[in-house]
Amino acid sequence: MRYRLRTSMVVLVMLLVALGAVAEQAPPAKPASPAPPASAVPSKPAPKRPAPPKAWTPTRTPWGDPDLQGVWNDATSTPLQRPSARAGKDVLSDEEANEFQQELAFDLTRDRRDGGPEVDVNRAYNDHWMDARRLKITADRRTSLIVDPADGRIPPLVPLSPERQKARAARADANARFNAGMPYSPEEMSLPVRCIIRTDSPPYLPTIYNNDFQIFQSPGFVVIAPEMIHSARIIPLDGRPHLGKNLRQWLGDTRGRFDGGTLVIETTNFRTDDGVVFQGANPATYRITERLTRVAPDTISYEFTVEDPTTWTRPWTALIPWTRIDPAEQMYEYACHEDNFDIVHLLSGARTREKNGEGKR
């Protein structure tokens, strides 16, 4: 039961997130001005960031690496992109922050009594599984997780090749069928619904639940184990080369190094399947760098920069604080495919609807 509930909710949320991202990013039919060439963009932007917390000397492992071990949680209500109502305001005052948080929580919470019985019950459905931490904005009172560009928004898209436009349209069609309860096949559903990858694919973004990451370290390795779906990202620190270019993976291939107190990780070798690379970027030109810094005993600053000159007009960076959870609160196994009742319900439901003559265009 539990698995089915979880799956249904993730289905909905992932889909909404995916659709939202696609919708927000749709390239303008006629760009007002030509996009600047990627080479004109400084590769190392200096984004405006909140003041760093008070100096704290990070603890080290017995073998001398900065110690990141523990279970961390990245839930927040702060949106990836700055809402238009907060345009021009990257950090809020205490009072503004309070108001912002309440607004966001009102939209996100499912514990409401203002929609009539049916709506309220639907909303309350599965509230038990949701992460209460998702209702709070980041402690640094920012209005977007994106810190660069300065407007807190994903940069405009460059015009996509006809093939990629076609692929995006096909994806949008499949999503529309899914939302209408008429999916054709398992393969056309999203990777999270199919239980192939979920929030374990970098970059890590907060979602409604299971926002935990357990970090393990051993001499020469850092391992990040995201709760969803039970995979371990084993990051060698010994400077070895990446896998050969013909060996691609769903979660890519990760290498890391410590730069002072910061773990810098680069991931390459992503598979080319639809949905593998973040926001439908082009696997051939996409680059992602993540930086993890323990800035306080209970906080890791997680920052990612993505760039793809064939997708976005410039690189962009987001900063998401990870909070250490009470060690008594453990991270448990998240199974998915093993009890993916939903995929059968969705497909068999669609076939039944077809038989009943529903969904005809």
């Binding site: 089915r4 071990q69 393990f216 039970h230 995979s231 371990a232 084993i234 669609a350 077809e354």
Partner: protein, 318 residues
């Protein structure tokens, strides 16, 4: 000893003396040879006993010389590394002959499964009489699936066939490597290549499994140089092998990982399940360190390969 002296004396009865020769049959020689044969036979008896026991047991017949593993800062042995079993127990824990595997008309020799010797101590899994029918049924149905009814979702098919997390100890002897990540926290991670399964070993942890899970609830402690892991809370749907060997929700596994060389861990698991077996039983085999330059665990995400099998009947037909 005295017996053997008497036997040597029998060889020296007057009737036989001509054959053995008078020089051998002096009283001093009879005594000396009796003693020598006594020692030799004692050695042979002990040797045979050990060899028989070793043959019966699964522990490696070839013992390792004494070994003290390198330590981590906490003084415990360092088990970090990429490890892999090279037994074929995932096909069958018991003795099994080489076989074609499914659909040789399609797969030819590609689909063949190798022979292998039992890894079960004593050679036989002590099933309760009433539990044997289910094993047979599992074997017959290992490649059948039916997920049209949530309530019968797990009734048919080997979980490996469906790309489900394999549970413990099966994950250890599947033909895939796994990485042990042991640092300075109270948690040791084992990350398996097969379907990206992972499990956390909580060291000296008191609390019981909060609920059943596919990879179970692992609590560890050190017994000298051996990492002992107590595994409970496993989902009852996992199997031990493709031959249909199985357990119930009462499964309790105690694993022992002992470093015996820089390149080997001895693995032993005691399996207890009062609903299925008459007594606890053991399996054992060595784990080998993967030594290739830059070797790393890769992905074996098999879910997409099961979609037609599991869900194909629900796809839209033109």
């Amino acid at each position: 000893m005295r017996d053997l002296t008497r036997r040597v004396k029998i060889l020296c009865t007057p009737a036989r003396v001509p054959r053995w020769g008078p020089r051998f049959c002096t009283p001093a020689r009879v005594r000396r040879w009796g003693a020598r044969l006594g020692v030799a036979s004692a050695i042979i008896v002990v040797g045979l006993t050990v060899a028989t026991a070793a043959g019966r047991q699964t522990s490696p017949a070839r013992p390792f010389p004494a070994y003290k593993a390198p330590r981590l800062a906490d003084g415990h042995p360092d088990l970090n590394g990429l490890w892999q079993a090279f037994v074929t127990a995932n096909i069958d824990l018991d003795d099994h002959e080489a076989q074609s595997g499914p659909h040789p008309e399609l797969l030819g020799a590609y689909g063949g499964w190798p022979a292998g010797q039992s890894i079960v101590e004593g050679g036989e899994i002590p099933y309760q009489q009433s539990a044997l029918a289910r094993r047979k049924q599992n074997l017959e149905n290992r490649m059948k699936v039916d997920v049209s009814d949530d309530k019968k979702w797990h009734d048919l098919g080997d979980p490996e066939f469906k790309c489900y997390m394999p549970g413990v100890p099966r994950a250890t002897y599947m033909p895939f490597p796994f990485q042990i990540v042991q640092g300075s926290s109270p948690y040791i991670l084992i990350a398996y290549e097969f379907t990206s399964a992972t499990r956390t070993i909580r060291m000296n942890w008191k609390g019981d499994a909060p609920t059943d899970s596919w990879m179970g609830w692992s609590r560890g402690r050190w017994d000298g140089d051996t990492l002992v892991v107590d595994v409970t809370g496993q989902r009852e749907e996992t199997w031990f092998d493709r031959a249909g060997n199985y357990h119930s929700d009462a499964l309790h596994v105690v694993e022992r990982y002992t470093p015996v060389s820089p390149y080997h861990l001895m693995y032993e698991a005691t399996i207890e399940d009062p609903k299925v077996f008459t007594r606890p039983w053991k399996i054992g085999f060595p784990l080998y360190r993967r030594m290739e330059k830059n070797v790393q665990p890769l992905e074996f995400k098999c879910v997409p390969w099961t979609e037609e099998l599991l869900f194909g009947r629900f796809r839209k037909t033109p």
